[in-house]
């Protein structure tokens, strides 16, 4: 007889190397993913603590709907106080970790305290045992070599969250890599320096073995199946799913270029003369011609029907990197004056291997160009600088700490970042709603906390952008709490009862039509409260001054959404 599903909070003290399993507190029950992280940090972490210090905690939490291979809804959220922003930071990823944690009945994994010894460890977690192993032989090793070595040791069926040298060196751009379903460590909780926090806890890797685990129980299986069917059909039927299946997120390159929002040469222009060469259209043609290991479509999570990921291979048929995404193309391509996808792919692989966020590294390299460390388009030099980050040289560390730090040290005012976290590939002067998100979100320059690209609004008109951003931020905070990928939003939006029905069937709750917004608002409320206690004020919800002054070609726009409108975006939640 199968054991009952035992949902617990797993608490790990990394100094005493003890793991305890605790009951889930009542106030945590109705949250998952990002919302749960916000709750836990507010409950347990001193908001004024040192992000890389002893009182800081790193929390892993799968979303509320994870566990049933609901298309594009098995995502993992990781959170902590960010060493980049000094505030609450969540980063989510696809891959297999979320599913494993849920099978094991882990509501949240809390890593706390800090070792006094600098040695690195691998933590092995299963339902039967917990094992700590010294990871000396993996220190300094990139993720693409580390992952297969851990799989060889622990078996091919495990999930792994791991660091590259960047996280070991506690760089602000360091993230945490997870395995995709082919066991390639290409799915990253990238932004905000969570890899640095994991590095401060001296964990090289966490291995999750869900042997003996089970799918979480569903209160109303028939109701769940019905809601799942409606949602899956909505996802399949939505035209945007086909676009992402065929072109991946690189579909956005020419869209943003046409809008004058494609970051070019450190955000000095919104259009790139060679945009076609780095477009999703060109990438598709290239991959179809090359064949071999290339694939224009790929699922990062088992069961996903959208399959927006890809495998980018070279002329020789061998994989260069998987995936190659829009943000990476934007920040490592046009942002640096680089027009070659192969080169961008190779830079992506290196940055992944070091375990870093391609967005903040790309933005830092853009700042480096303005500072004369590199000339526009010089990809060989870019690879040299990336190698300096890997080797932890002083210049490497400056760049590895991200665009904001690099700008301060190198004396460059043109830094595309808010709250110390670089902007992704949408110039906020040309997509103003997203600019509002960058300025007002606790997450900084993070498009995934509220992209407004699809909103039917004139992106260059400051009117209506705060409302557009608010709606996007609330909805996405909701999806982040469910464990739903940003891509699944189309499906959920066109089957509007799906969120309510899935949650009620899964948990036996009685949520209403506004289930998504209720979760989203609660998440944002908790995050903002944490940030307030950490010392944030309205003064931090600002666009960089230079973007309010320097007109962006080709449409000569500045960021001019009124500050008092932005200040009131969440006044109902404060």
């Amino acid at each position: 007889m199968a054991a009952d599903y035992d949902l617990k909070v797993w608490r790990v003290n990394v100094r005493t190397q003890t793991v305890t399993k605790e009951p889930v507190p009542a106030s945590w029950e109705r949250l998952g993913g990002r919302g749960l992280l916000a709750r836990i940090l507010l409950d347990e972490v001193e908001p004024t603590c040192e992000p890389l210090g002893q009182k800081s905690k790193l929390v892993f939490a799968p979303g509320l709907l994870v566990g049933h291979m609901l298309s594009a809804s098995d995502r993992l959220s990781v959170g902590a106080k960010s060493p980049m922003s000094g505030g609450f930071r969540e980063s989510n990823s696809g891959g297999s970790t979320g599913l494993h944690m849920t099978s094991m009945g882990i509501k949240a994994l809390i890593l706390e305290d800090r070792p006094t010894d600098p040695a690195f460890w691998t933590l092995y977690l299963s339902l039967q045992e917990v094992r700590w192993s010294r990871a000396d032989d993996l220190v300094g090793v990139g993720v693409y070599e580390t992952a297969p070595r851990l799989l060889a040791e622990y078996g091919n069926k495990v999930a792994i969250s791991l660091l590259g040298p960047g996280g070991e060196n506690q760089l602000g751009t360091a993230g945490i890599q997870n395995l995709d379903k082919e066991r390639i460590p290409g799915r990253i909780n990238a932004r905000g320096g969570l890899g640095a926090v994991m590095g401060s806890k001296r964990l090289k890797a966490i291995v999750f073995n869900d042997a003996g685990g089970q799918k979480p129980p569903i209160k109303d299986p028939e109701g769940f199946k019905k809601a799942q069917k409606a949602y899956t059909q909505a996802v399949l039927a939505h035209p945007v799913s086909q676009t992402y299946r065929d072109y991946g997120t690189a579909a956005n390159v020419l869209v943003c270029d046409a809008l004058g929002a494609l970051p070019t040469r450190n955000f000095s222009s919104g259009t790139f003369e060679q945009a076609e060469s780095v477009s999703g259209e060109h990438m598709r043609d290239l991959l179809l011609k090359r064949g071999g290991e290339s694939n224009t479509s790929h699922a990062c999570m088992a069961g996903c029907t959208i399959r927006c990921s890809n495998i980018f291979g070279g002329d020789d048929g061998k994989t260069i990197v998987s995936p190659l995404e829009y943000e990476t193309i934007g920040l490592l391509g046009p942002n640096l004056g680089i027009a070659d996808l192969d080169v961008i792919g190779r830079m992506n692989w290196q940055i992944n291997d070091i375990g870093l966020d391609t967005i903040d590294v790309g933005a830092a390299l853009g700042v480096a160009c303005d500072a004369g460390l590199m000339t526009w388009g010089d990809s060989a030099r870019a690879l040299e600088l990336i190698d300096e980050i890997r080797r932890n040289t002083p210049v490497g560390r400056i760049l590895g700490m991200g665009a904001t730090m690099a700008g301060k040290v190198l004396g460059i005012e043109r830094v595309p970042a808010t709250k110390g976290i670089a902007m992704s590939a949408y110039d906020p002067r040309a997509i103003k709603g997203t600019g509002v998100t960058f300025a007002t979100s606790t997450q900084g320059g993070d498009h995934t906390s509220g992209l407004t690209l699809r909103v039917k609004i004139d992106h260059r008109d400051p009117k209506g952008q705060v409302a557009a951003s608010r709606t996007a931020q609330i909805n996405i905070a909701g999806y982040d709490t469910l464990g739903a990928c940003i891509m699944s939003g189309f499906g959920y939006a066109t089957s509007p009862d799906a969120v309510r029905d899935l949650l009620n069937a899964r948990y036996g709750w009685n949520m209403g039509d506004d289930a998504l917004q209720v979760l989203g608002k609660e998440t944002i409320r908790l995050e903002r409260e944490f940030n307030r206690r950490a010392g944030f004020t309205k003064a931090h919800d600002r666009m960089p001054e230079w973007m309010t002054r320097e007109a962006l070609p080709p449409y000569n726009v500045v960021f001019d959404v009124p500050q008092d409108e932005m200040d009131n975006i969440f006044s109902d939640l404060d």
Binding site: H238, P239, V240, Q242, T243, Y244, D246, Y247, T249, A251, N252, L254, V255, A258, L259, G260, G280, E281, E325, Y326, E327, G330, S424, A425, H447, T448, L451, L453, R454, D458, H459, I486, M487, G489, F490, P554, Y555
Partner: protein, 74 residues
């Protein structure tokens, strides 16, 4: 009248990337899309001469019309 049409992503398949075409005077973006057998529901963004536009917008001689399918985030 003569206009330039730019197509993107799936719209290019079986059609073209950029083309100068004849269309009737007073044609709308929607009309051109229909001629190209592109469904309204599939259109995510319309640009006329680099400005976002509605499908009902009437075109003028020499205009550039850009049609994009629905896209989302990166």
């Amino acid at each position: 009248m003569e206009i330039t049409v730019r197509l993107y992503l799936t719209f290019r398949t079986g059609r073209f990337r950029v083309e100068t075409r004849e269309c009737p005077a007073g044609a709308t973006a929607a009309g051109v899309a229909r001629d190209l057998e592109i469904r309204d529901a599939d259109i995510g963004m319309v640009l006329v001469n680099d400005r976002q536009a509605e499908l009902e917008q009437q075109l003028l001689p020499g205009d550039t019309l850009s049609l994009f399918p629905v896209v989302g985030g990166g």
